[in-house]
Symmetry: D2
Subunit: 258 residues, 4 copies
């Protein structure tokens, strides 16, 4: 099993190498990650500029590593389309320092990297732990278990999993829950500053203490569980009342009249 490992905290992030280290027990690991932190770059892909890639010195021996001057998505696309010649069987992204829950996921570079694997038909896993929590070992170990289950076909092959772990020692974690994303997990606020010459703004995300429903990722994390959410790569919303054939006819009639 060949596993591509990426992240959005950059190729020097300890979480990336903790992950790579564990996954080596499940298969051959190749790392392709941004050369510097790319948090919140979400699904961004670099199309207007060329990309530079360097062979990086791996922090773990035996791992081939590429450092990409680009986003997490760029790293995965380049790795799968160009840098790795042999077929890849799994993409794992993380371990992100900072939970990726609810709506938040959409702007996560960690999830973005996994999206690009899944879009290419590969199973994909994004793994995150709380910001400030410096113990990646359990998260890396869980990722390895998931990789092994995929390899052994105990898990379906067509999966894109968003995995979040609480800041707890294993003995205190209550279990694993299959969840759906909570709706609103953060609120954006905008700080203003002055650099001595001009005003600037700075986006700041503040965590919401919301009362998420019991089936959500947020609830799971707040109650000591590991959360696994199955994702897809479409924003498609099932047919909704009022957006139907009737509205099409009405709109088109008006549109033609102009």
């Amino acid at each position: 099993m060949r596993i591509l490992v990426s992240n959005d905290d950059g190729i020097s992030a300890p979480g990336l190498w903790a992950l790579a280290g564990q996954l080596m027990q499940a298969g051959e690991v190749v790392v392709a990650a941004p050369d510097r932190e790319q948090s919140a770059t979400g699904t961004a892909v670099t199309l207007r500029q060329p990309l530079r890639v360097q062979k990086a010195t791996p922090l773990i021996e035996g791992v081939k590593a590429f450092s990409v001057e680009g986003t997490p998505c760029d790293s995965v696309i380049l790795a799968l389309e160009k840098l790795i010649e042999e077929p890849v069987d799994l993409v794992v992204s993380g371990i992100n320092q900072g939970l990726n829950l609810g709506d938040d996921m959409l702007i996560s570079g960690t999830v973005g990297a996994a999206i690009q694997g899944y879009m290419r038909g590969l199973p994909a896993i994004a793994v995150s732990i709380p910001a400030g929590y410096n113990d990646w070992r359990d998260a890396a170990r869980l990722a390895k278990l998931l990789a092994e289950e995929i390899k052994a076909k105990k898990l379906p092959q067509d999966i894109f999993l968003n995995v979040n772990l609480p800041e707890l020692p294993v003995s205190e974690i209550k279990g694993i829950r299959i969840t759906q994303p909570a709706h609103k997990t953060h609120i954006d606020s905008v700080d203003e500053g002055y650099d001595g010459r001009r005003k600037y703004y700075w986006l700041v995300r503040k965590k919401l203490n919301n009362n998420s429903a019991e089936d959500t990722d947020m609830w799971a994390l707040e109650h000591g569980f590991i959360s696994i959410t199955a994702l897809q790569t479409t924003l498609f919303r099932k047919p909704i009342a009022g957006i139907d054939e009737g509205c099409c006819k009405r709109l088109f009639q008006n549109f033609k009249q102009a």
Copy 2:
């Protein structure tokens, strides 16, 4: 009705101003858009750096315009959270030069801008026409019709619509279809180059001539229809076989043993 207009082609793009011009007939228009092209920045939000904003000279009189050194998402977040003091009723993004269909949508900055409006509880519309098609008028007019219908509550308020128009004069457009996103619309390939000193890579997206099903956005566009797709802001995939309580128990048992 107050309408925020943004895009990913940048504040000088003619498509933006064609849109703003039409929407002025439906309400008060405020423009907040990236200062330079930000195509394919998708859902990216700038959290690690401050953002600079300038009052921009509007290309249409009477429109307040903000030029943001950031992504489309940054522009909409800043506008809604800080720059516009009065309540906004609708976010319209476009008119993008380049269709945003199928999976592609996820990396679209045009769609990304709309996401940030919809996440804040506002109706949101992303509008695109084919790359190279320089007639924005019909697309802008359709956006105005949609805005008027939202204002008149003929359309549901809780909507996030991805609208794509074909490169055809109105008289040849066959109608409007409510669609779902086609699966694969593009294939990435990677060009290699040399800048006189070092090698570089360049991501290139090539359009697929796929045989999309008749209910897809891609089919609609290829057959002369306007496509409207209803979106949501979650990648959540409905429960799938094998990702269930059983797998949770199994995984957790193994996880605890380490």
Copy 3:
């Protein structure tokens, strides 16, 4: 006379257009400037990435304008090597908001733009006024006078002038002085901040109240004069004691022994 006008405050800066407006009285004006602020980019040239250029809407009718996604140096190089087909006779950069005095000049994008003109054999002028001073008219008028003198060959053709004006009405300006750069005009200090996730540093330049000698640009500005400093495009320092043939022989002998 064809005059290329650039700056480092970006193509929307009012100082640029005040300058262009006045210079139109001396010749044909073409504007090529960065699309966004590029202060302190000094001599930086973009070699590792391609450059994007847009025809910009000029704020003054009759002026051809190019907006460059790059540095001031990039803008001038592109304009002179590619964008302007006819020969250019003069490069004027500014009007910068922020004096460019002493050592400071080296990091100034305003001076950087002029360097690229002068390196190509053209007379070049950089013009600056104090930060926060919003009256560009007199500075623009002085630039026009200089352009006219160059055109009329009242001034030598082989010149690269760094011009700084004080924040004073014309009636209170005491005169114009030919100066040399003061040694130390600013001190860098480093602020520390925290973005909610990680520490950051921010370089801040603080003006020194130094006792500059009477022949310096700094002294001139502090005493109500306009300063004109003649520059060249080399950092070469005349032969200095101890860096001589003797040291060459000594070093080379040691070098060969290894």
Copy 4:
């Protein structure tokens, strides 16, 4: 002796570590360099955005290393003003892959880094070898010799040296020459390309085969010598005919009349 080592090829460049390795024999070495290649960024300083710094894994044990998301100048300023608490005695920049000769020097990030050391009163050395030449050892050894001479006060303390070595084994190098910068060493040309959507330009520097005078850096390199050029940090040009008191009076009179 405490030596700050920086470069513009980025903290992973082998030339940087070859240099650091040799300089360890002359004193304590601290590395502060850009996290990615910053060629041709010249004197650029980042004032509009905060800077991120990471402790980097040194490629040579015992060396403290900082990776800076910024320019070479940023790296040196940050290191000297903030990151290094003890006094620094010397700044060495390189070993650059690509000669920095003549006018070219002004856009060199390698020289830019050294400028910021010299401006703070420290002896500063920039060292470069030809592009494509992968043997940094001799250049590093020469840098060590220079450092030792500075330490032993065999060389003056107030020096800023630009050192270039030819692509030759030591036995074939003819000697060391004190030179002045050749005038024109490169010519810029502009390539045009198309990214599938829009046109782009790419600046390309082409080496000139000029007939430089015998006292220049270019001549020295072309004839098998090592070149050492003494630099200063001002572009000031000695008084020139026509830029004098007479021109000041004339201009000021016209200026006042408006």
